[in-house]
């Protein structure tokens, strides 16, 4: 009753109207026995709904309002929502347990597999970590080429990554012993890497010193024009020398004699005489 609600406060209560009626009826004139609504002044406003819909509260009463809008809602305890939403009636998909999920597709050739000792475990067992040899000696590495040393270095890097991943996972998962064995293995790998660096540095310094020596060497021409190395025996006969020096060289570190170069039979005596 929208029209009648607003003026309820303005309209006097029935008790007051009855009292007014009683007052007027005491005079007991027939003209005065009229409906009290005509006798009393009435003013009605536009809408009368608000006062009627408001719940009656006693003065001084405290509010019953629930100040916590998210009371009882917990994602951890899966209580669900407190208030209805537009999709509350729609059947929503439920999450599946981990066992029901299909297995994850993994690329068998992925590079990250190299961080683990095998496909099943995350860290190597201590008895497997113990199975290693000793580090390379510098003397053994001196005989290796740049390509071999470069690849060996990166093999060492990958091995160290594997050991580090295992140690990290072992500590994180509190898996038990194995740290000591991993450290011993890591030390050997680091020693190999140290040897590689030593050999390459040594080679570089020797090269630098050799370049300095070669500047004063009559057999070597570093200007960039023509042949770099001309052995003294054949400075006159430049076209007659066969180039088989690489095949005949022995793998020792001593200075190789000029005899290693294949000499044409006619010049052999002359060559020996020139050397003497």
């Amino acid at each position: 009753m929208a029209s009648s609600a607003t003026a309820a406060s303005l309209r006097p209560s029935l008790g007051a109207a009855a009292a007014a009626f009683r007052l007027t009826s005491s005079s007991s004139s027939p003209a005065s026995r009229i409906c009290p609504s005509i006798l009393l002044l009435q003013t009605s406003s536009f809408s009368t709904s608000s006062p009627l819909s408001k719940r009656h509260t006693y003065p001084g009463a405290r509010s019953n309002k629930d100040m916590s809008k998210n009371r009882g809602q917990s994602a951890l305890r899966r209580t669900g929502l407190r208030w209805r939403l537009s999709m509350s009636d729609e059947p929503l998909p439920k999450p599946r347990s981990r066992d029901e999920l299909p297995p994850v597709e993994v690329d068998p050739d992925h590079g990250l597999w190299d961080f683990f000792p095998n496909r099943e475990t995350v860290a190597a067992a201590p008895e497997d970590d113990m199975k290693h040899g000793r580090a390379w000696m510098v003397e053994e590495l001196r005989g290796k080429s740049w390509e071999d040393l470069h690849r060996l270095w990166w093999v060492c890097v990958k091995e160290r990554n594997r050991i580090a991943t295992g140690s990290w996972e072992r500590e994180r998962g509190k898996m038990g012993f194995g740290k000591s064995e991993a450290q011993t293995r890591d030390r050997e790998v680091r020693n190999t890497m140290r040897g590689i660096k030593h050999v390459l540095t040594e080679r570089f310094y020797a090269w630098e010193d050799a370049v300095k020596l070669a500047e004063n060497d009559p057999e070597v021409d570093l200007s960039g024009k023509g042949r770099v190395f001309t052995p003294t025996e054949y400075l006159e006969e430049e076209g007659a020398v066969e180039t088989k020096a690489e095949e005949e060289v022995v793998g020792s570190r001593e200075a190789v004699e000029a005899e290693a170069v294949v000499v044409p039979p006619g010049e052999k005596a002359q060559g020996e005489a020139a050397r003497i």
């Binding site: 580090a135 000696m137 060996l152 050799a210 570190r253």
Partner: protein, 102 residues
């Protein structure tokens, strides 16, 4: 925000300077090295020859491991000269023998 109370009262001054201390002119690097140069307007130009790159070669078919079997005894090299492997004359002679000719 408040300063840490444990560091108040001249205690902070006894600690080593960090990159965040001092207003102007104090530079402290982090050990990463110089990758370029600053411009006059406050910018930075990267010099790519200073930037380090890591080249991993192809390891397929490579049989060497970081370890050597324990059955192989350690043998130290024997050299004629005092400098031994660092001797430039030995280096040059070997180069002449192996690489002199193309």
């Amino acid at each position: 925000m408040q300063p840490t109370r444990a560091l108040l009262g001249m205690r902070y001054r006894k600690l080593r300077l960090t990159t965040k201390d001092v207003n102007k002119g104090f530079y402290k690097g982090t050990g990463t090295g110089s990758m370029g140069r600053h411009t006059s307007r406050g910018g930075y130009i990267i010099e790519w020859n200073k930037v380090r790159t890591y080249v991993c070669p192809d390891l397929t078919g490579f049989k060497l491991t970081p370890f050597v079997t324990n059955t192989v005894k350690r043998v130290y090299g024997q050299y004629d000269t005092k400098l031994g492997p660092k001797d430039p004359e030995q280096y040059l002679a070997r180069w002449k023998a192996e690489n002199g000719f193309d």
